[in-house]
Assembly symmetry: C2
Homo-oligomer: 147 residues x 2
Amino acid sequence: MKHTSSLADSRLRDIGKRVTSQRRIVMDILASAEGHLDASEIYERARQANATLSLATVYRTLKALCENGVVRQLHLAGERHHYELDREDRHAHLVCSVCGRIWEVDSTSLSRAARAAGREFGFQVTAARMEVVGVCASCRNELGQEK
Amino acid sequence: MKHTSSLADSRLRDIGKRVTSQRRIVMDILASAEGHLDASEIYERARQANATLSLATVYRTLKALCENGVVRQLHLAGERHHYELDREDRHAHLVCSVCGRIWEVDSTSLSRAARAAGREFGFQVTAARMEVVGVCASCRNELGQEK
DNA sequence: GAGTTAGTTGCGAATGATTCGCATGTGCAT
DNA sequence: ATGCACATGCGAATCATTCGCAACTAACTC
């Protein structure tokens, strides 16, 4: 069971971290997830690859990756943080306040707005996130039927 | 020391909540703060008006106000939630990743982007927030001097 | 390839924000 | 004025996240 470890390995070396199986596992999980995951989701998946990997290691790995810009920590609605690989594309999150599902949206207008807002305030923008909360189409249908 | 309680009172009655001095205090604090506050900031200010008001009451009040759309809970960077009166204007937050200060920015483009993104996904948008992270002008100056 | 060592891990305990349980207190409808 | 459902205060409980420390191991040196 070989990993796509060359990617993870070089990223780790780039940021001056040792390559460990635990870190590879966490990075592979983030790389193969389409969206963002929270720490316990990452932990559960990681346990499938290594039954003794600890939650603390998940947190420590995420922290190290965040500090080095490899991973981004998201502050969406809810109690827990979410994490995603920093793919350098700026996108927005659409959060349905009924079912809680989250969509990712590429947003060129977000990027533009971010830069404009930053310039106006003498801000050197390094990241931008937009969270749009509302009711998704399917929930609106269900709500409509109830009435 | 009269409060501007008529506003708070009617808001509370509107959402079917009893008017208590504790709730008035919390709402007045939110109304007079220009930006957003976290729970402990609200708690500290509230204690100045009522020394026995409890932190649990602050949280319960904020929760009730959030559930009724009077207050908005923000998920900015950092561990704690922030709260602000829902003034129905859509604005963005500029977060300096060096000093941690936060600015609010009126953003008509944000509003436009949110609506557009929502429409594209059949989303009925109820709230939009944008968080722009970067380095503020004064921190950039200081960093520049160090080099 | 074995030795050394600083960086990592696992575990459980600690922390910090937020919530809950319950006995007591108090708006407000009657 | 009276009753009772809703609110509050307090401390205990919960949940995510972090820390302390002893055991482990990646990676540098010979």
